[in-house]
């Protein structure tokens, strides 16, 4: 037993040394101690939102005020509960959180509030009343997107729905909003429905399954949460010309935005179907800057300011009428109305382009890409 303990201690020490772990960060005088509890880090949206949040933390107005420490809980709500508890224990002033579950964290959040810790959630929701929330109205996303699609189809047509992750609030609200609109138009017929898990890759396999027994002639439009870029690529492979692409509703991937540009627009770094196609699109996303905004609001509140319990971030809807290519992607340029980025700068078409907010001039394209704030 003693020997086991000894070896254990030795190996644990070795591990700590091997990982090059520094001494625990102690709050420096006069700085707020802020923790970020992320959920899953293994997808593009999360990585981008985290980059923007980190950029916000080191932006000129913030860097002297806060000490930010980032932790990842993975997809497990139990783990996030414990993470929040231990952040409170470690003396957090504020906890910014991407909540894995809108309900499961309530106990831990309530406890944190009771100890005077500010808890603010971004993108997804925490239902505990003492928490602050920053997100877009997901139900409204469903309604607006469906209305656009119905209008494009003239109130009549067969559509395919590619949903998100079943069992989540965001997915349920979006579907609810959309189906309510579709139900009002008896001419709209939903011919296939699948769970795309908010991933272009899964969206592709699911859409292929739907098309195994149908062909594109039997589909007039697509309502997807993530997947228009892929759907347009698949139509191209099936020999459908750019001008005949079915109208599609979906998230704000840069690939999809580039496809919306009129045919013939000059872009750098186009490749395959990552090129201007004049595709008929409605594009709006869960905003990637909400984390950065949440951090900013948290600091405002810690400094004695007032912030609303719910910051309802307006949607940034881009259609073929409003699509505009950015040259560099600075915040200033985006504030003048550009909303898509050169493929040469963004080689990944699945990258989310919804990074602009008038409320966060500290962060632009460099923030989303590498975590650098605007100069």
């Amino acid at each position: 037993m003693k020997r086991i303990l000894k070896t254990t201690a030795m190996l644990a020490g070795l591990a700590a040394a091997a990982l090059g772990i520094a001494a625990p960060a102690s709050a420096k005088e006069g700085k707020f101690k802020v923790f970020l509890s992320m959920s899953y880090i293994g997808n593009d949206w999360q990585a981008e939102a985290a980059n923007m949040l980190k950029a916000m933390a080191v932006s000129p107005g913030m860097i002297d005020k806060i000490d930010l420490q980032v932790q990842v809980a993975g997809p497990n709500a139990q783990k996030q509960i414990q993470q929040i508890n231990s952040m409170v224990q470690a003396g957090a002033d504020a906890i910014v959180v991407y909540p894995i579950s809108p309900t499961a964290l309530n106990g831990a959040v309530k406890n944190a509030c009771a100890k005077g810790v500010l808890v603010i959630a971004y993108d997804s929701i925490i239902t505990e009343p003492c928490a602050y929330n920053v997100h877009i109205d997901q139900r409204d996303w469903g309604t607006k997107s469906a209305e656009w699609l119905v209008q494009q189809l003239g109130g009549k047509g067969r559509i395919v729905m590619i949903n998100g992750v079943p069992g989540t609030t965001v997915d349920a609200l979006r579907i609810e909003g959309a189906k309510e609109v579709f139900a009002k138009h008896p001419g709209i017929q939903i011919v296939g429905e699948a769970n795309g898990m908010w991933s272009q890759a899964v969206g592709r396999t699911e859409l292929s399954k739907i098309l195994a027994t149908r062909n594109w002639d039997q589909i007039d439009g697509l309502w997807t949460q993530v997947g228009c870029y892929t759907a347009n690529s698949m139509q191209n492979e099936a020999g459908i010309a750019d001008k005949d692409l079915r109208p599609c509703v979906g998230e704000a991937s840069n690939g999809g935005r580039i496809q919306m540009l009129p045919i013939g627009t000059e872009v750098e770094g186009a490749n395959g179907t990552y090129r201007p196609m004049g595709a008929k699109r409605w594009s709006s996303g869960s905003q990637n800057f909400t984390g950065a905004l949440a951090l900013k609001l948290a600091v405002k509140k810690l400094q004695g300011g007032d912030i609303p319990a719910l910051t309802n971030v307006p949607q940034n809807i881009v259609t073929n009428d409003t699509i505009k290519l950015c040259k560099e992607g600075t915040w200033k340029e985006m504030s003048e109305g550009c909303n898509a980025f050169q493929p040469a700068i963004i080689p990944n078409p699945g990258w989310f382009a919804s990074i602009y907010s008038p409320l966060t001039p500290e962060v632009g394209l460099q923030a989303a890409l590498v975590g650098q704030p605007e100069d």
Binding site: I4, A90, G167
Partner: protein
């Protein structure tokens, strides 16, 4: 190899009586040691001292995992495997949250409802496994899907309210300032376990897990023991669900799901061996808290986000490695053996250093090629008629048949429900393109499962391969010449690392491959900086998406792959060694099979297959994305076991696995063509798997 040692504990339990032995409790002691070390790190390094309140909170957040892990341990001790455990937790959570407000306000009643739901599910599982003699992993896989569907039926999104009395009860103190209610629940479960262990059921449990046939011969009611195991385990999961509900105060249909892999990790860290017969519930509780404390450790050490999975995996590996540092461990055994070999080599007495003089018995041959003693030498089938050959492969055909029959039924159902199927070339082409990923993974995962292991590192091997190949090729064909071989090599290397850890260090496959997965996730994040870039080469894209005379090139490739896979597993020395190891590693070793080398090769094969899937998947999507492998882990296991492979190893063939792949893909295609809600789809999916294995099960 865990297989070789399986029999010993049962024997020892019987003969050594109550005499305490270090060897038997080593796993438990190691886990306890690790827990003590982690706890003391937290206590000493923490910026602010931990109060009783903080500790009671850690206990509370670890309780669901600990209790669910106890249930899983029971199943694993009996030689089974329960995939439905996490789904039970979600179902209990939403069921309690969906109760009308103020309908039940007694925490004890809520507790009983939760445990009741769990036990009910356990009864279904137990009946199917014990009385219909179905494979635990297939049954619980099917019930997992059914339960997930039922959960979504009860509640399709987070919400509802759980009576506040439960939260108060769970947050209360049994001995104020000393023992929180959740801690007391764990202690109560442990007390139940120590009582059970001494009953005839407890002895039967270990005996069934050790060797079911011997147990039956010894007069143990194995069926009843199995049945009871699942009922009890279900009760534990139910209780865990109640604990979650008490903590959260509301329902969430996804709350339990991510706990499944953690549960297995807790079981293995706690010293219980997969395959049954050795270990215990106390270890699992400790294992669960080792995992839970990791959250605090990572926070204290301030590991940066991209490195967090790497740090976590390192701690997990170190924790389990402790168990490998004793005199009778696999590692020590290996070192000793290497030493012996080395000295034998120096003395020049190794078998291969001797000049050998092959002496074969010269048996006179008969004209038809059968040796005079009448024994037909295997492989000398030239003279055999087709019927004889078919007869010889009858068991193999029977094993593969159920999956293919079910596949045919699904095809008919698709024609009936969606039309445009049976005579539609496009349908088959799409089906085969979509099947290719699982078909390739099934070879690797299948070979691993045949040797009694499991490869959990597939998701991030796939993702890393996709990211590497897209990044290197960057949309150009020429680069493929070196990018593809390089990435395949990386896959094989990942397998080599897995295999080496398992064989040389004697680590459990679950822990080793889970840790590798964590390392790979960190590597992929660091390499890509959070956003993978680059494009699949145009050639790769056309390979996966273009049609040549109505056929996508990958379909032809799949045909060749299937042929190669059938030959590899069924007709080569490597394949036969895999089966031999699965049947009995010790018997194989004694018959001269290079067990260790073969096991390492099996994991390399799996890594290679996963890398190939990563390459093809990036070709289909046009580029790589971070989580692209996440959807393939459970299906890879499902396809293998639905195709008739025994998870405990030794039985199954590639044709069957392919049937499993086709069945599952066709079923998904059918469901995607409908507008059923997800809940109904999930239930249908589970029911079809279950019906297929029940209706076509092997009759004795």
């Amino acid at each position: 190899m865990q297989m070789t040692e399986r029999l010993e504990p049962a024997l020892r339990d019987g003969t050594a009586g109550r005499k305490w032995r270090l060897g038997r409790d080593r796993g438990l002691l190691t886990a306890a040691g690790v827990l003590v070390v982690l706890a003391s790190i937290i206590l000493s390094v923490s910026a602010t001292p931990l109060s009783y309140y903080d500790i009671s909170q850690i206990v509370s957040s670890g309780t669901p995992l600990a209790i669910a892990g106890m249930g899983q341990t029971l199943v694993i001790l009996s030689g089974g495997f329960d995939l439905s455990a996490a789904a039970v937790i979600s179902l209990v959570n939403v069921s309690l949250a969906a109760l009308p407000p103020d309908a039940v306000t007694s925490p004890v009643l809520l507790l009983l409802i939760g445990i009741g739901i769990g036990a009910l599910v356990g009864m279904v599982n137990g009946a199917l496994i014990a009385f219909l003699r179905l494979q635990p992993i297939v049954v619980t896989l099917a019930t997992m899907f059914i339960l997930q569907g039922a959960t979504l039926l009860v509640m399709d999104k987070p919400g509802g309210v759980i009576d506040a009395s439960l939260g108060e009860f769970m947050g209360s103190e049994v001995i104020p300032g000393f023992l929180p209610m959740t801690g007391a629940l764990i202690l109560a479960c442990l007390a139940l376990w120590y009582w059970l262990k001494a009953t005839p059921f407890g002895i039967a449990l270990y005996a069934v897990g050790g060797d079911a046939d011997s147990a039956r011969s010894a007069g143990i009611a194995t069926r009843r023991a199995r049945f009871l195991t699942y009922v009890l385990a279900g009760g534990f999961y139910g209780l865990a669900g109640v604990c979650v509900s008490g903590q959260t105060g509301a329902g969430d249909p996804l709350v339990g799901n991510p706990m499944l892999l953690q549960m297995f990790a807790a079981v293995v860290v706690g010293g219980t061996l997969l395959g049954g017969g050795r270990g215990g519930l106390t270890g699992t509780v400790i294992g669960a808290f080792v995992l839970v404390l990791m959250v605090n450790i990572l926070l204290i050490l301030n590991v940066s986000a991209y490195y967090s999975t790497i740090a976590e995996s390192t701690i997990l590996l170190l924790a389990v490695l402790m168990g490998a540092l004793h005199r009778r461990s696999e590692l020590a055994e290996n070192l000793r053996r290497a030493g012996t070999r080395f000295s034998a080599w120096r003395e020049g007495v190794l078998a291969r250093q001797r000049t050998t003089d092959v002496k074969r018995l010269a048996l006179p041959r008969r004209a038809d090629g059968v040796p005079a003693d009448g024994v037909r030498v295997f492989g000398e089938g030239q003279g055999a008629s087709l019927i004889q050959r078919l007869g010889r492969s009858r068991p193999a055909i029977l094993l593969a048949l159920p999956a293919f029959i079910s596949f045919a039924v699904v095809l008919l159902a698709t024609e009936f429900m969606l039309g445009n199927t049976l005579l539609n070339g496009n349908y088959y082409n799409t089906l085969l393109v979509l099947s290719c990923f699982l078909a390739i993974l099934a070879l690797g995962q299948g070979a691993v499962i045949l040797t009694g292991g499991l490869d959990l590192s597939l998701p991030w091997t796939i993702a890393l391969a996709g990211i590497l190949v897209s990044g290197m090729a960057a949309g150009s064909n020429v680069e493929l010449i070196y990018a593809v071989p390089f990435v395949l090599l990386v896959g094989a290397l990942i397998g080599l690392i897995n295999g080496t850890g398992i064989v040389l260090l004697g680590l459990s496959p679950i822990v080793m491959t889970l840790a590798t997965n964590g390392f790979l996730q960190g590597t992929a994040l660091i390499y890509s900086g959070g956003t993978p870039d680059g494009f699949a080469a145009p050639l790769l894209r056309s390979f996966m998406t273009q049609r040549v005379f109505g056929v996508t090139p990958v379909v032809i490739f799949l045909g060749l792959f299937v042929l190669a896979a059938v030959v590899l597993l069924g007709r080569t020395a490597f394949g036969r060694r895999v089966y031999a190891i699965g049947n009995s590693a010790r018997a194989a070793a004694l018959s001269g099979v290079p067990v260790k080398r073969t096991v390492v090769m099996v994991y390399m094969l799996s890594g290679l297959c996963a890398a190939l899937v990563g390459i093809l998947l990036s070709g289909l999507s046009g580029q790589a994305s971070l989580g692209m492998g996440d959807e393939y882990l459970l299906p890879s296991i499902a396809a293998v076991v639905v195709g008739g492979t025994l998870i405990t190893g030794g039985r199954g063939n590639y044709a069957g696995m392919l049937g499993g792949v086709l069945l599952l893909t066709a079923l998904q295609t059918l469901l995607a063509g409908t507008t059923f809600p997800t809940s109904v789809r999930s239930i249908v999916y589970g029911v079809v798997i279950l019906t297929a294995v029940i209706a076509l099960r092997e009759r004795r």
